[in-house]
């Protein structure tokens, strides 16, 4: 394997073309999307969302909830490089050498979507430093509702919005809200104080997302984010073949 291969070759360098049918009546082709990642490299989970929605707090909560059962590492993409990484170090949820901070050149969405090189390098440094790491959380810098992770960088992604950002946010949509594998509505304990209608917010979220899951939570009430942690466990076990 080439020294900097990141294990994403899914066999399409094999010298033939896959026929593509544009006829909607044609029988379904085999699913062209990538299967679960190969065992042997860490599961990569992206956590994105607007500034201040609670991405770092959720990352810390997942480290607390999953740190004893899984070998974990975190990549942060903060605007000024180390703010979020420092928070994680201070809270002591993860050993310092399990956290990598990358610079995003003032464009956080570019670093997780259009040019993922800096983040891939950071993930690979963590995998080299900690062989056998099972879960790498990539936390994006705070960005807008259109910022989603490239599927070339993460296997699954969570988009975090918060009640204080306004109960209209899910209705506004955008790829983060509509396509993330899990939408987390954070800080529900503040709903009354900011005049947010949770029924509307959660209802809108489900309407925008179809069958994709939504979790409404408050890290004040449940500091270890049990519902999100359970969802992550489900994602991880789905990739591990039964009996493996």
């Amino acid at each position: 394997m080439p020294p900097d291969s990141h294990g994403r070759d899914h066999g399409h360098g094999h010298g033939h073309r896959h026929p593509v049918s544009l006829d909607p009546a044609a029988p379904a082709e085999p699913d062209p999307h990538r299967g679960p990642p190969l065992p042997g490299r860490a599961f990569r989970l992206g956590i994105g969302g607007p500034v201040g929605s609670g991405k770092t707090a959720l990352t810390a909560a997942l480290c607390r909830a999953l740190g004893r059962e899984l070998r974990l590492a975190v990549v942060t993409n903060d605007i000024y490089t180390t703010e979020d990484a420092d928070f994680l170090r201070r809270t002591g949820v993860l050993a310092t050498d399990r956290i990598e901070a990358v610079q995003t050149g003032a464009c956080p969405h570019t670093a997780i979507r259009d040019d993922i090189t800096a983040n891939l390098d950071a993930v690979e440094r963590l995998e080299e430093r900690h062989p056998g790491v099972e879960l790498v959380i990539v936390e994006s810098g705070g960005d807008n509702l259109t910022a989603v992770f490239s599927r070339g960088l993460v296997d699954s992604q969570i988009f975090v919005v918060d009640v204080a950002g306004g109960d209209k946010v899910p209705r506004k949509g955008g790829p983060g809200v509509t396509t993330a594998d899990l939408l987390v509505i954070n800080k529900v304990d503040l709903a009354e104080r900011v005049g947010a209608d949770m029924r509307v917010m959660v209802g809108d979220a489900h309407r925008m997302r179809g069958d994709l899951p939504v979790v409404a939570q408050s890290l004040v009430h449940t500091p270890d984010a049990p519902e999100v942690a359970a969802w992550v466990r489900g994602r991880l076990s789905a990739r591990t073949p039964a009996g493996a």
């Binding site: 900097d4 180390t82 390098d121």
Partner: protein, 233 residues
């Protein structure tokens, strides 16, 4: 003589859209802005002119040499020597690191589009190759000549930093684009000189330098550790 498809490769390699990790590097602009050395479009023009004739010229020379060698099927020993010669011409440790970071990203992104035997031999000789060397090998794999490879390297030496200046200072992007376009004749000269030197032994390649850029790179690295920076270089 450039081959079929060379134009697309040259354009794609020089495109800001190319996913090789270049967008996180400012080429000294972030540090120069922080030090008050660049405050507007006029300063930026001077900075980019100097950068093109120092860092840009060096990168063009090594991209052209790499393209020439890749077309001639150079072996592992050549790539190891070319790598060492570029190290020797890059006194700033921070600049060597920035070049290798972009080289590795460009290798990863470029391998999917323009793989070649020369690229494989380069990757074996230097798993974290220098940026201009990878550019040269990729351009050659797509049929570009040393001059085309030098144009890409020279252009990237000013285009990325110009974009960083727009982001850091909120400069008028139309004016900044005009500044980059205004360097066309300079870039042509740099690429022509680089192509003329492409067949030289690595040890005999030109060694242009700019101590100010070296110092900015080192200061950036120091300040990054002290108080954080937006860009990796």
């Amino acid at each position: 003589m450039a081959g079929l498809g060379a134009g697309t490769a040259v354009l794609a390699l020089a495109d800001a859209r190319f996913p090789g990790g270049g967008h996180v590097h400012s080429g000294g602009v972030e540090e120069a802005v922080a030090a008050g050395l660049i405050t507007g479009v006029a300063d930026l023009r001077e900075f980019l002119f100097g950068r093109l004739h120092a860092a840009g010229r060096l990168q063009a020379v090594f991209a052209a040499a790499a393209a020439h060698a890749a077309a001639g099927d150079a072996g592992r020993e050549y790539w190891t020597r070319l790598d060492a010669e570029l190290d020797a011409r890059t006194p700033s440790c921070a600049q060597r690191a920035a070049s290798r970071a972009q080289g590795r990203g460009t290798l990863r992104a470029g391998r999917a589009a323009w793989s070649s035997g020369a690229l494989a031999r380069l990757a074996v000789a230097t798993p974290r190759p220098h940026h201009p060397v990878v550019l040269g090998v990729l351009a050659a794999a797509a049929g570009a000549d040393p001059r085309g490879a030098a144009l890409v390297a020279g252009y990237l030496a000013v285009s990325g930093p110009s974009s960083a200046a727009v982001r850091l200072l909120g400069l008028d992007p139309l004016a900044v684009n005009a500044v980059v376009a205004g360097l066309a004749a300079e870039l042509d000269g740099v690429a022509g000189d680089a192509a003329a030197a492409a067949a030289l032994d690595p040890a005999d390649l030109p060694a242009p330098s700019a101590p100010a850029l070296d110092l900015l790179a080192e200061a950036h690295d120091r300040h990054h550790r002290e108080k954080g920076r937006l860009f990796a270089s």
